[in-house]
Amino acid sequence: MNKPGSAFVRDSLLPARAPPPNSVGIVGWMRQNLFSTPLNSVMTVVILVFIVWAVTPFFRFTLVNAVWTGEDRQACATATGACWAYVKAYLPQFIYGRYPIGERWRVDVVFWTLVVGLIPMLIPRAPYKRLNALFLLTVFPVIAYILLTGGHHQFSGRWIPNSWMSPSPLRFAVEYALVSAAVFGVSTLFSWMSGRPITGSWRTLGFILGAFAIVLALVSLDFGLVPVETANWGGLLVTLVVAITGMVASLPLGILLALGRRSNMPVVKLASTIFIEVWRGVPLITVLFMASVMLPLFLPDGVTFDKLLRALIGVALFNAAYMAETIRGGLQAIPRGQYEGAQALGLGYWQMMRMIVLPQSLRISVPGIVGSFISLFKDTTLVIIIGLYDFLGQIQASANDAKWASPVTGLTGYIFAAMVFWAFCFSMSRYAAYTERRLDRGRR
């Protein structure tokens, strides 16, 4: 530092002077953000007063005056706060409904399998995404179905007259083979008419039909599990089954409908448009009601159709229509040049959609898709009108139980329901926001 000629070069910086006291720290932040102008100051004060006024009673009810322990209604009879003891006592019912106590481990196994499968899926850096997704979409549903219902499904076939073949798994297998053959025939006819080679679609079809046959075989096996009818399912179990099936089914259906509505083939376009508009024009309550009350009237005698399954189909189709419109919005944002670039390289329609168009448009649609998922999750509460006891339904039912009846029981139940629903929906919303930011960052 003391080389000759450098005497005038400053070799240490002057210490920084402290900033004016009112511009840093909490005081500075408040001056800048809360009290920068007279109007801002007034708004700050008014809103603070409102928050205190609204939130204080809520905390007084849920925390300060709450009853945390107790065996029955005595504990809460005179309470002026939430009766958490009641929630604690009923928690298993809120989760499992009337699922037999000795079999509840099966629900737990399904739940934790889902959690273990889902977490690495949600962490962007976790490896094996493809395998993971494959597990969640193929293996897991089969495991879940077998565990939750008990499996050992007795297929007996339906269409071949009894005089030709008595009802048996064999008759079902024959029918399945016939339907498969018909599907092959029709697809061959279509490929021949459109002039496309058929070998590729044959392989795909064979794979799908084969995989489905394996699933049916697995579901009919006897694993020694006690069957549990869906009428006994309830609580969070029903809420999650309806919501997750609805989400998983409505996304691909929605994609197909959206593509259909933008198709150049007039029949496909018309059919998709009609489907979407019909479902979007009907309230979900009506759909559920029709599925539960009217559908059986149209079905032939002796054909029974599980009530939960009917609700699942109704919810899935209803949401597929909304999903389709969300996804169509994303598709419209993809410039024509992307299609032309793909076509000029020789990519076929499905390759172009799968590899070029959908990856880009789904990314744009993430906020809309998650919005649909969130409303779907909340809409599951409507299944109560067809006599299914979801999480909210179970809470509502238990609030009338004489053992715990008190002035605050119902209110506590609803607050608890609201908190649980909020936790689920808020997590979805946050995860979506995180995904959006992540996708925005790297590319484009």
């Binding site: 459109s194 000029a344 020789g346």
Partner: protein, 266 residues
């Protein structure tokens, strides 16, 4: 643009040095007509492109140049006449269309790279999925062509991170990876900043020197002089005039051609 044209004027035309097949037809259009609704965009187009030929198409905006070359790989459908590419006639037969698209590369004005895929993935997508080539081999080929267009170091970036000129060179490499027999260019330099035009033209000249069959819609007259065997002038959906570049520029026959050239060369 005029700077470039002047510079290119001093270069000797490369065309005579290259052999053009006299028997092998790459693209043939016979009495092709096309309408957009009531609007008659292409009128009685007759055009025969031999293997190894390099055609430059020019003409005022809206004259149907893009429509014409987009008919060659069926991005647009013609309503009358015959288009035969590489021995395959373009009809509604999807299989034929797929075959033609596999053999015909196209470079667009706005590049049309896939923004969600890396440069390398852009280049390997079609070879892997259309030609069913193993990934390793497709990547080797892609790197070979990225080297040729002088941007191998960008292979793992996304298109949005590249300049316009770089993106257009990637687009050319992407087409070349399919080893096409014909290349179509639709105003490949018109969306570029002036300083990037040359790097793209250089790549195209290189391609021409290798004997690629090329149909280029462009107003780069320097490029036309240097590499074209034939320059075609279009107006109002018709081919008004075609000639070898020297005669085309020094001795245009039609009034409209003269007017167009006087506008574009000044």
């Amino acid at each position: 643009m005029s700077d470039l044209s002047v510079a290119a004027e001093e270069l000797p035309p490369v065309a005579p040095a290259l052999t053009v097949s006299s028997t092998d037809v790459a693209v043939e259009m016979v009495d092709v007509n096309k309408w957009y609704g009531e609007f008659h965009v292409l009128r009685d187009i007759n055009l025969k492109v031999m293997r190894g030929e390099r055609i430059v198409i020019c003409g005022p905006s809206g004259s149907g140049k893009s429509t014409l070359i987009r008919c060659v790989n069926r991005l647009e459908e013609h309503q009358k006449g015959q288009i035969v590419v590489d021995g395959k006639e373009l009809t509604n037969d999807l299989r034929k269309i797929d075959e033609v698209r596999r053999e015909v590369g196209m470079v667009f004005q706005h590049f049309n790279l896939f923004p969600h895929l890396t440069i390398l993935e852009n280049c390997t997508l079609a070879p892997i999925n259309v030609r069913k080539m193993p990934k390793r081999e497709a990547e080797d080929i892609a790197m070979h062509y990225l080297n040729r267009v002088k941007i191998p170091e960008q292979a793992n970036k996304y298109p949005g991170q590249l300049s316009g000129g770089q993106q257009q060179r990637v687009a050319i490499a992407r087409s070349l990876c399919m080893n096409p027999r014909v290349m179509l260019f639709d105003e490949p330099t018109s969306a570029l900043d002036p300083e990037m035009i040359k790097e793209v033209l250089d790549v195209m000249v290189g391609l021409a020197l290798e004997g690629m069959t090329m149909i280029c819609v462009t107003h780069e007259m320097g490029f036309a002089r240097q590499v074209a065997n034939r320059v075609i002038f279009m107006d109002g959906g018709q081919i008004i005039e075609q000639n070898d570049p020297v005669s085309f520029f020094t001795n245009p026959q039609h009034e409209r051609t003269k007017l167009f050239l006087s506008q574009i060369l000044h």
